[in-house]
């Protein structure tokens, strides 16, 4: 090592600052390897995030009341456009508008915005989906792991399909499948019910305002998206569970059955506890992914009906794309980060992801 560095070999350079130099020598390689990524991330990741925090305290965006905008200070020919004015500091107004559902602000968004309902729905959406994913994932993995089952390999090959297809395609295809007039789901239902003399139905999956199950305040579009997202999500959990199942020694089951344990007891007492270490981090990954699952919501229900299936990320996108309220969107994004921090800390704690590799 030392021979590769000529400066180190010369005694004049080493004598006066040897401690510093030793430190630098140790640090040099990691710094060189990290530098490109750190510089790029400073510019394109961390600076925008800091800028976002500043934006969240301003009225950045299109200010309808004044007919002004703060976005574009450059007009044709290098002059400032007449409707431009710099963004103004508004303090915590954006945050307060969001969390107190300020009526003026809600009216500007079209009247369907309710922050606490949105947050509650987002959490419920996340946990109901991941619950189904994990449960189905484990059950199907156990099913496929039954010895002597014919065609296991074929089933495994088929079951991976939902993971292989891009999310955006899955979401748009399911959107069309749940179409009220031409969708295949309604056609499939009719295929089964018309032989019994029932009239063909035309369920308006995404537009029906009335709740399908009275007492549970969830619109029909939630159930449609739940079905689509269950289809999308369980194969990942099955793969994780299969990997864990195959490392459970067979002798454990043999010993258990000698002791007279039934199949059910074996499942609850051996299989589930031994799957836990693999399933918990996978469920954590699933929770973060589902919490931020933009594609399914945006492409299927678009947040409807009446904004009741909106989640945080789709609302944040609409604040920019539709309402052009950049400052509010920035505040909203900061709130998203605040909601995600506890989830992130728990995930990090459970999966020990940032811990050192060799200690």
């Amino acid at each position: 090592m030392a021979t590769t560095n000529p400066e180190l070999a010369s005694p004049t350079a080493r004598a006066p600052r040897s401690a510093l130099y030793e430190g630098w020598k140790q640090l040099r390689t990691p710094i060189v390897y990290l530098l490109p990524a750190l510089v790029i991330m400073m510019v394109v990741t961390f600076y925008p995030l800091a800028f976002q925090v500043w934006m969240s305290f301003t009225d950045y965006g299109v200010i309808k009341e004044e007919g002004k905008q703060t976005l574009n200070p450059f007009g044709p020919g290098g002059t400032t456009p007449p409707n431009y004015r710099p963004a103004q500091f508004v303090g915590f107004k954006n945050y307060l508008d969001i969390i107190t559902n300020n009526p003026q602000f809600v009216a500007r968004l079209g009247g369907n915005f309710d922050f606490w309902r949105l947050l509650a729905f987002n959490l419920w959406w996340t946990f109901s989906n991941v619950g189904f994913h994990v449960a189905l994932g484990i059950i199907i993995a156990v099913l496929l792991n039954v010895e002597g089952l014919w065609g296991r390999k074929i089933y495994r090959a088929i079951y991976i399909l939902p993971m292989v297809l891009p999310n955006i395609v899955v979401a748009t295809v399911w959107r069309n499948m749940f179409d009220d007039q031409y969708g295949s789901i309604n056609q499939l239902i009719n295929l089964f019910i018309t032989p019994f003399g029932l009239d063909p139905v035309q369920i308006r999956w995404f537009n029906q305002i009335q709740d399908p199950i009275p007492g549970i305040g969830l619109p029909l579009s939630y159930y449609a998206m739940l079905i689509a997202n269950i289809w999308l999500g369980w194969p990942f959990m099955t793969i994780v569970a299969t990997g864990a199942l195959q490392s459970i020694p067979k002798e454990m089951y043999e010993a258990a059955s000698i002791d007279g344990a039934t199949g059910m007891q074996q499942f609850w007492r051996i299989t589930l506890p031994l799957l836990r270490p693999a399933m918990v981090p996978a469920a954590m990954v699933g929770i973060v992914t589902t919490f931020n699952l933009f594609h399914v919501i945006y492409f299927m229900s678009g947040g409807g009906p009446l904004g009741r299936t909106e989640i945080m990320v789709t609302q944040a996108f609409k604040l920019i794309n539709v309402n052009q309220l950049y400052g509010v969107a920035a505040a909203f994004s900061v709130i998203i980060a605040l909601v995600l921090i506890p989830i992130f800390l728990i995930t990090n704690k459970i999966s020990r992801a940032t811990e050192s590799y060799d200690v």
Binding site: L34, M41, Q52, Y60, N176, S184, N348
Partner: protein, 365 residues
Amino acid sequence: MSSVTAQRRSGSTAAGRRLKWWQQLVLQAICLFIAATVLFPVLWIVSMSLDPRNISRPTELNLIPPGASLQAYVQVLDRPTANPVTFAELAFNSLRLAGGVSAFALLIGVSAAYAFSRFKFPGRQFMMIAVLAITVLPSVATIAPLFALLNSIRISSAIMSIVLILAGLMLLGLTLFAVVPAIRIGSAGPGNYFFGAVGLVISLGLIYGGLAPARSEVFVLRNSLLGVGIAMVSGALPFAIWNLKGYLDTIPKELEEAAIIDGASPNQVFFQIVLPLATPALAVTGFLGFTGGWTEFFLSWQFLTDPKDFTLAMSLYNMTGQYAGQIPWSRFAAFSILLSLPVAIVYLLLQRYIIGGLTLGGVKG
């Protein structure tokens, strides 16, 4: 792992547990039912794409439509949306965006991932948590500042061309510098070639972008594929670093230690030992980044205004639901198949490595 499976196999033959016929029947019925639910959307879309009658909306279910043909594919390849762009142009935009972003993130990310995986230095824990936290943050939540910042970068197109060409030449030089010595002394592995090819493609792409005639006098960074690419790197780079670090952690250190004892410099260890060993990891991370870019929607939807810059994912949205207008569903079906096919095939090829990476957290815990 292999010893465990061997044990299992011998165990199963010794026990020789057989299912009773009715058990087999019930399990087969369940498995077939699950397979049917998995296949239903796929078959629906495939059969619709083959429908020759060019019906605007399907009114019945049939597995193979009468007189199946590839007409819808031909129409989609010619002109998928109302905009006057061909499928090839859209695909080229998506390809440049996805390929450029994932390759760039990979090139920059792999050395950082190596540093996180192998070196100890002050602030390591803090930096790793920062990187991981960014990967948890949804990229939708960073649109506002990225839009505002990129929107304020406007320069004349002539200067932009020069900047692009210079950047391309610099990257070209850097790539050759990193790869040629290893090739000359004959120690280059697939990782080096991969690295070199990626650098070459990006730098040539940059030079090509610089030489292409400008569309307007003022170049607005936000309203260009380059701007969308920069915005995507913001999320793709932390992801690449994190993903690669996870893989590098699983590569045994002994080989590197042996090389250091033999007098190899850190650079030699990295380029000649770690990179070749990390080839599957590079392929998987590059592929996951590529898929992310290939299907990226909200940034490009928000940033781009010129139909010549539009991507496949944006066009898919144009063909769905209330935006579909008069576009027949058979074309939507053909389009979504063409969009998914490349990534689906590569996913199946890399399946083993991808799943290994996805479940890494579980193995480590």
